[in-house]
């Protein structure tokens, strides 16, 4: 079964690459502005265009791209003149670190709130109060929240740094590329606290928006399960209410909650483009937005394929998690 799933991934990659390839070339603008020095003659421009293969028809270019891509060669960036895979993968840990911390914040906030508001349904504080906050959270654009935090916490109160991952001058040995983890592994507490101060605002911004949605889903899923007969069975056995909720009910709600977390990972990747730009976070998202601006085709192509790959990987992982949560599910 796993083999069939893996084979199914191929057409997805083909489709994603084709769409990105075509859309990029349909968009106005020309990467040659990056490649050609100022004041070059028309002949010079054409020579460079030919050199980079940009004078060929789009289908031919796509075919060339595919041929090289299967060998792991995604070409050089027009702007940085470096292999795009190296360029992007260097910045990947920053994005992963931010995504994981946001997901952690979201989960830690959303699941308890969802559970409590379902158990205390219709209570003013625990249900209506938290759900109003959740509504506020879902309706707040993350970039706006980010900018507000920067203005208040970073600007006026001057409590937190407004951009970057680490203050210039602080030494940190890179092991995994996740600064928080690296600083713990090397027992470098100065770097740890500095990295924390840098990551907390962007992670909170992304976490809050996701938590709001996850809390609502957790609540409705818990309410659904709480009405099931087997919850009555658990109660009439004499189980303490805590066991009824956290064992019998939560385990059944987990499938829905996990699905939402999986979807949120997609949101995280897409959201990273905005949040990384707002907080000048040196991750893949901010690189992507620059690359789109410069029409650095190859960087965009590789990044989008990488996002697709991560998304597919996470969903595959989720399918395994489902089988562990619910014995009725078989891949």
């Amino acid at each position: 079964m796993l083999r069939r799933r893996l084979i199914g991934i191929l057409p997805v990659f083909l489709g994603v690459s084709l769409i990105v390839f075509v859309l990029l070339r349909l968009a106005p603008g020309d990467p040659l502005s990056l490649l050609v020095p100022d004041g070059s003659s028309q002949a010079e421009v054409e020579r460079i265009r030919h050199e980079w293969g940009l004078d060929r028809s789009v289908p031919v270019q796509y075919w060339e791209f595919l041929k090289k891509a299967t060998l792991g060669d995604f070409g050089e960036s027009y702007k940085y003149r470096e292999p795009v895979s190296k360029l992007v993968l260097e910045r990947l840990p920053a994005t992963v670190e931010l995504a994981l911390l946001s997901l952690l914040i979201s989960t830690m906030v959303a699941i308890p709130i969802g559970i409590v508001s379902a158990v205390r349904r219709n209570s003013a504080l625990w249900d209506h109060g938290t759900m109003s906050l959740a509504l506020l959270g879902t309706s707040m654009p993350p970039f706006w929240l980010g900018i507000m935090l920067i203005i208040v916490l970073g600007g006026q109160l001057n409590l937190l740094p407004v951009g970057g991952r680490l203050t210039y001058g602080i030494e940190l040995t890179h092991i995994t590329g996740l600064y928080l983890l690296d600083s713990i592994l090397t027992l470098n507490w100065e770097a740890f606290s500095d990295a924390c101060r840098h990551i907390i605002m962007p992670a909170f911004t992304m976490g809050v928006v996701m938590a709001a949605m996850a809390a609502r889903i957790t609540r409705s899923s818990m309410l659904d399960v709480l009405g099931q007969d087997y919850i009555t069975t658990a109660r009439i056995k004499g189980l303490p209410e805590r066991t009824v909720i956290l064992k019998h009910c939560l385990r059944n709600s987990l499938c829905t909650i996990v699905t939402i977390l999986g979807i949120q990972l997609g949101t995280l990747l897409a959201g990273s483009i905005i949040i990384e730009t707002v907080f000048s976070w040196p991750g893949v998202g901010s690189l992507l937005i620059q690359a789109i601006g410069y029409r650095d085709y190859r960087v965009v192509q590789f990044t989008v394929l990488l996002f697709a790959f991560i998304y597919i990987l996470v969903n595959l992982l989720l399918d395994f998690v489902y089988t562990w949560i619910d014995p009725r599910v078989r891949i």
């Binding site: 219709n122 099931q228 007969d229 087997y230 009555t232 069975t233 658990a234 109660r235 009439i236 056995k237 004499g238 189980l239 303490p240 209410e241 019998h248 385990r251 059944n252 949560i325 619910d326 014995p327 009725r328």
Partner: protein, 324 residues
């Protein structure tokens, strides 16, 4: 007979946005030690809510037991706090729900679900509790229990699942078993098997059974005494033979007339007689006797004043016709 459970003036109401629903509105009956009492009535008569009230698991909000006493071995369960009540539930009083397809948790093995009871009330370790679960599966007649104990509910048939529910309920040898329509969701042949199993286990464990059903055939077969409920109140109570031979309340007579008689020649070609009308809306009960709107024998006072319980020939009947 010694009273195991006695319900006195029980009222369980549901507080909804559009009014208060008196699902149980002053209920009195008792169950003796080792006795099987049938509770019959149409849907919405308050049978299941009575069971949930005894177990103390009426969904709250919106439901709440507002008045009365539930005396179990002489002490009032309604005065117990949550922790005391939890120790009664599943240990002293156990319950089987109606639909075995939905009353087992789909994500845990049946062994673990039975073992939970042993660990909770018997203080056993997990391996001991699984041993206990295997033993109980054997008792309720599930073949190959050592293997079945590790299976999930979806791997079992409906009849098997109800046996698992029975095994779970009887794990701590309760003194009272409340069975809420235990066979309604099962095939007819499986119904008979399940009832036979319950009857044999009742003798083995010497427990009392409160059997909630709308099937009078099951009552005749299983019970010593019957309580007939209508719209949240008890209408008639009598020993089984006496009730079937001499039903006194018009509602009881209506219920008996609406049974198809396959074995009785004289009735085979007759049309079934249905009780006209439907159960009244509990939000808007009629004045006087709550059955008066559907009763063909009602007299003047029936629509004026609610009848009390009259004692007649070892029956208790809530009907003005029984006055003097």
């Amino acid at each position: 007979m010694e009273k195991l459970l006695e319900i006195v003036g029980l009222k369980t109401h549901f507080f909804l946005d559009n009014g208060v629903v008196p699902a149980i509105d002053g209920l009195d009956f008792w169950i003796g030690r080792g006795e099987t009492v049938g509770v019959v009535g149409e849907s919405g008569s308050g049978k299941s809510v009575t069971a949930l009230s005894i177990m103390g698991v009426v969904p709250n909000p919106p439901g709440k037991t507002v008045e009365g006493e539930i005396l179990f071995e002489g002490s009032d369960l309604l005065a117990y706090d949550a922790e005391q009540m939890r120790r009664i539930r599943g240990k002293e009083i156990a319950m089987i729900l109606q639909d075995p397809m939905t009353s087992l948790n789909p994500v845990f093995t049946i062994g673990n679900q039975i073992a939970e009871v042993f660990m909770l009330h018997g203080g056993k370790s997990h391996p001991e509790a699984i041993e206990g679960a295997i033993e109980m599966l054997q008792v309720v007649g599930i073949p190959n229990p050592e293997k079945r104990v590790h299976e999930y509910p979806h791997q079992l048939s409906g009849g098997m699942r109800q046996r698992v529910m029975i095994a779970m309920a009887l794990s701590c040898t309760p003194k009272l078993l409340i069975a809420d329509e235990p066979t309604t969701a099962l095939d007819v042949t499986i119904q008979a098997q399940t009832l036979a199993l319950m009857a044999s286990l009742k003798d083995r464990y010497k427990m009392a059974i409160m059997l909630i059903t709308h099937n009078l055939g099951i009552v005749a077969e299983m019970c010593q005494r019957v309580v007939v409920m209508y719209a949240g109140k008890m209408m008639e109570e009598a020993e089984v033979e006496s009730l079937f031979a001499n039903p006194m309340h018009p509602y009881t007579r209506g219920l008996l007339r609406s049974l198809p008689g396959v074995d009785r020649k004289e009735r085979r070609h007759q049309r079934l007689v249905a009780i006209p009308g439907i159960v009244p809306n509990l939000l808007n009960l009629p004045k006087g006797c709550r059955f008066s709107t559907r009763c063909e024998e009602h007299i003047g006072i029936c629509k004026e004043e609610e009848p009390p319980l009259f004692a007649r020939d070892r029956h208790r009947v809530r009907c003005w016709l029984m006055k003097d």
